[in-house]
């Protein structure tokens, strides 16, 4: 008559989500942007993503093994894959294969596992990997392709693959004809050479409101990002404040001196700003957790990006801005704790 039961702590109902589920949704949300990227710039990016993801999983497995952590559980959280995809999306599509090796090594081994693995990294691993290769090999990281629509030469699937793995372009081509400056590069060089932004914008690399091709990739990133927001995977604070601060300050600068400052739309729709706003600066582990903290974090990333773009040594500054705000995140969290009920 008497029956015994297993006990357990409350709440008894299953939890809502999983870490793996969160990461998978992020990957899914990146898909439209990746497809748009491939549409505008060819197959290079797909190879970079596959290569980086493969390397990330290998490094992750090795480090888990070394740290005596269960492989199955942690490989299934897809966090390494998310890091890899975000890293790859920052690379030029034809970057040589060893760039991905080096970047993924620093991202997964150094920035992630040496700091304690998932949930313990102070810095965004993808951005650490990217900044390491950007600073160490600036040459390899500046060979950007123009959009296919205005490219004089198209590389096929196999040509792309062989370029990435041999570092050699197919016979008859050289980097000067294949690669072209990005919109942000173009603006930077023309301003330094005394041209106005309006004159610079005559270049074919510019589209309707941002960089040609880039503006539409950014739109598709935003679609994925908004979906994540709707799914409550990311909160609205960081994207809104990051884009908002760039638009507001960019607008002020543009109105003050349209000759030497690009329009705010130009800022938003070129470089990694939209990708950063929805996918990179929203990384929960290395960002702020409180609501007010996230407002400050997003604003900070936006402002630093703008400052680097305008006065810094690099055409884009999202990666540096994210890393700098990562450093500030614990302090911001410390001072933005919400008021507790009844206190």
């Amino acid at each position: 008559m008497s029956r015994r039961f297993d006990t357990g702590g409350a709440p008894h109902v299953p939890a809502q989500g999983t870490v793996g589920g969160v990461m998978l949704q992020v990957l899914l949300a990146l898909c439209p942007g990746i497809l748009a990227y491939t549409w505008f710039f060819g197959f290079g990016m797909l190879f970079q993503i596959l290569l980086s993801a493969l390397l990330a999983v290998v490094f992750e497995a090795l480090m888990l093994q070394a740290r005596r952590q269960p492989l199955g559980i942690y490989l299934n959280d897809y966090s390494a894959v998310v890091t890899a995809v975000l890293f790859a999306l920052c690379l030029p599509p034809l970057a040589p294969w060893w760039i991905a090796c080096l970047g993924m090594f620093f991202a997964i081994v150094v920035a992630k596992h040496l700091y304690g693995g998932l949930g313990h990294n102070v810095f965004n691993p993808a951005m650490v990997g990217y900044v390491v290769v950007l600073i160490s090999f600036p040459q390899a990281l500046t060979q950007w392709l123009p959009p296919l629509a205005i490219a004089p030469e198209h590389l096929g699937l196999l040509d792309t693959l062989s370029t990435i793995f041999t570092g050699q372009l197919p016979p008859g081509l050289d980097w000067d004809t294949v690669s072209q400056a990005t919109p942000l590069d173009t603006i930077r060089t023309s301003i330094t050479s005394g041209q106005t932004v309006l004159e610079a914008r005559q270049s074919a690399v510019f589209g309707d409101f941002g960089g040609r091709g880039w503006e539409w990739i950014a739109n598709w990133y935003a679609v994925g990002g908004l979906w994540l927001m709707w799914r409550r995977v990311i909160s609205w604070q960081v994207p809104v404040t990051m884009l908002g601060s760039v638009i507001l300050l960019g607008l002020a600068a543009y109105l003050a001196d349209p000759g030497s400052n690009p329009s705010p739309l130009q800022h938003v729709f070129s470089g990694a700003l939209v990708l950063g706003a929805f996918f990179i600066a929203t990384d929960p582990v290395s960002g702020c957790t409180s609501t007010r903290g996230r407002l400050i974090f997003g604003t900070g990333v936006g402002l630093i990006t703008l400052i680097i773009r305008r006065w810094g040594g690099y055409p884009d500054g999202v990666a540096f801005a994210v890393l700098m705000m990562n450093m500030a995140a614990p302090l911001i969290d410390r001072y933005t704790r919400p008021r507790i009920y009844g206190q």
Binding site: F5, H12, P14, T18, Y341
Partner: protein
């Protein structure tokens, strides 16, 4: 600012506010609401725990072999405000034995084991239909003596609550009919089927508290309840009672959240609703108060929801306190084949019971049997990824992930500074955590660690005070001894001085005498040392 607060509290229920966070959970209430209310049959034996709420166990008033009537006091609490434990039926006491008492800790306690005689004979009931003219003292006495406790699950003695509220000017009584936890439907059924008891209880409590009005809060989807309560209120013309429907967001049934929803105000940390002139009681408590005061029936049974996919026929039952849970389950067709966990309370905050031999207690608003598919599987805990979902849903506006980290690193003082004690253990953070960290368990652990740390510090403080007192006492003694020696010395010195002066005077007198007798002598003697000038 300070003067505005009570004013806003007086408008409680005029408009609805939000509280921070919370969850929209699936209700799962309908499955237990279809079957009509039923009184559970008498079991072969009742096990009535003498401890059913915080504090000391009641002292048994009966001995083995003694015959008792239904409603007779069988245990008495030391504290006068908490009253008595009563026999749930007539019969004879067969034992006073330690056994499981349906306690959250799973501990055993003293129970009166009662063998029913099947007659279910009440003691002589002292009905008081004229309660309204008897004065508040009588009402309070009845509430205290009838063993009434908060039936929403917190089981705080109602007598104590009413007595404490005497200190503040209470303007509004809030009757909480918001059962925000899934599955639980006993309050809904009570209000639907017995609206009269709830309304009578409201009137009695209103009088006992000196409150001007009552707000009965129910959930948005309790349309039938609203209708049945409304009919009674309208028919009797009780214009001091209002029914307010609030949107069902978990954990809105919590006292702090409900007050916030009705007034937009927060109960100050460490304070009570009475600080805002409010008293919150459960609707079932009000019905029990009506029975106790008007009919003279002490609290010996309550309505309980038996539900979950682990039970054949979920329903609500009137169950006597002390009925073994197994016999209540039998009354609902027994377990289904996949029954996996037995819970007292709801799925979010209830506690798991190891055996169905635990008796029915006053705290039991729901006995939930979950199936394998409903309970959280044993899964690996992942590291926190700081997603902040826990903070978004926390109704106490805490940062659960920070608290978790602090408790894990034994930074208990930091955790206390971040409001660990304000945690109401609602489980919202647990529910949304993608890393499946058992946050609430960590917080319970942290709270108990803090209590033992405080006790340890208290002991250390006492030891320090004792040491300092001893040092001070020794110092005082030393000082006193030194003073005594000084005084003695002084006294000796005084003695010597006196002797010297006497001697000197004598000498002078003698010298004068000598001089008189021999005027040629003595000039030298007159210049003796220090003539004090006075004899």
């Amino acid at each position: 600012m300070q003067s505005r607060v009570p004013e806003q509290a007086q408008d409680a229920g005029e408009r609805l506010y939000h509280f921070h966070g919370g969850l929209n959970l699936r209700h799962n209430k309908a499955i237990s609401c279809d079957a009509p209310l039923l009184r559970a049959p008498l079991p072969p034996c009742l096990f009535i725990p003498l401890l059913q709420h915080a504090g000391q166990e009641a002292r048994p008033l009966v001995s083995v072999g003694q015959a008792v009537l239904k409603g007779e006091a069988i245990g008495q609490f030391e504290s006068p405000c908490t009253g008595y434990v009563h026999a749930p039926t007539s019969g004879s006491v067969v034992a006073l034995a330690a056994q499981a008492i349906t306690h959250p800790s799973g501990m055993d306690g003293l129970c009166v084991v009662l063998k029913p005689d099947g007659v279910d004979q009440w003691i002589e009931l002292k009905a008081a239909p004229d309660w309204a003219s008897r004065g508040t003292g009588f009402l309070r006495q009845r509430i205290r003596d009838s063993g009434i406790v908060g039936l929403g699950g917190a089981v705080f003695p109602t007598g104590l609550k009413v007595d404490e509220a005497k200190e503040s000017a209470i303007h509004t009584l809030i009757l909480n009919g918001v059962e925000c936890e899934p599955y639980i439907s006993c309050d809904e059924m009570l209000m639907r089927e017995h609206p009269g008891s709830v309304i009578s209880g409201a009137l009695v409590l209103q009088a006992a508290l000196g409150a001007r009005r009552t707000i009965i809060t129910i959930e948005d989807q309790m349309g039938a309840v609203s209708q049945s309560l409304g009919t009674v209120i309208e028919r009797a013309g009780h214009d001091s009672i209002r029914v307010v429907r609030v949107p069902a967001v978990y954990p809105e049934g919590g006292e702090k959240q409900l007050v916030q929803v009705l007034t937009g105000l927060e109960i100050p940390a460490g304070g009570k609703p009475s600080d805002l002139g409010l008293v919150c009681l459960n609707v079932a408590t009000a019905a029990a108060v009506a029975d106790a005061v008007i009919e003279g029936k002490p609290l010996v049974e309550r309505l309980v929801t038996i539900s979950g996919n682990g039970v054949q026929h979920p329903r609500n039952l009137w169950a006597r306190i002390g009925t073994p849970i197994a016999s209540l389950i039998d009354c609902c067709g027994g377990y289904s084949s996949n029954a996996a966990r037995l819970i007292l309370g709801g799925p979010m905050m209830g506690y798991a019971l190891a055996s169905d031999q635990n008796p029915m207690v006053k705290a039991a608003n729901c006995i939930l049997v979950l199936s394998d598919d409903d309970i959280r599987p044993a899964q690996a805990e992942m590291p926190c990824i700081r997603c902040g979902e826990c903070a978004r849903v926390c109704p106490a506006v805490l940062l659960p992930q920070t608290l978790h980290w602090q408790i894990r690193n034994e930074l208990l003082d930091d955790a206390a500074g971040c409001g660990l004690n304000e945690c109401i253990e609602c489980g919202c953070c647990d529910f949304v955590c993608p890393s499946h960290i058992p946050l609430v368990e960590w917080f319970r652990f942290g709270k108990s660690e803090m209590r033992s740390l405080a006790a340890e510090r208290g002991r250390a403080e006492i030891a320090r005070e004792r040491f300092e007192a001893r040092e001070a006492r020794l110092e005082r003694l030393k000082h006193a001894r030194r003073q005594r020696i000084e005084e003695k010395k002084q006294a000796l010195l005084d003695d010597a001085e006196k002797k010297r002066r006497i001697a000197a005077t004598l000498q002078r007198v003698q010298a004068r005498g000598d001089a008189a007798r021999n005027p040629l002598a003595g000039t030298k003697d007159d210049q003796g040392p220090g003539d004090p000038g006075k004899p």
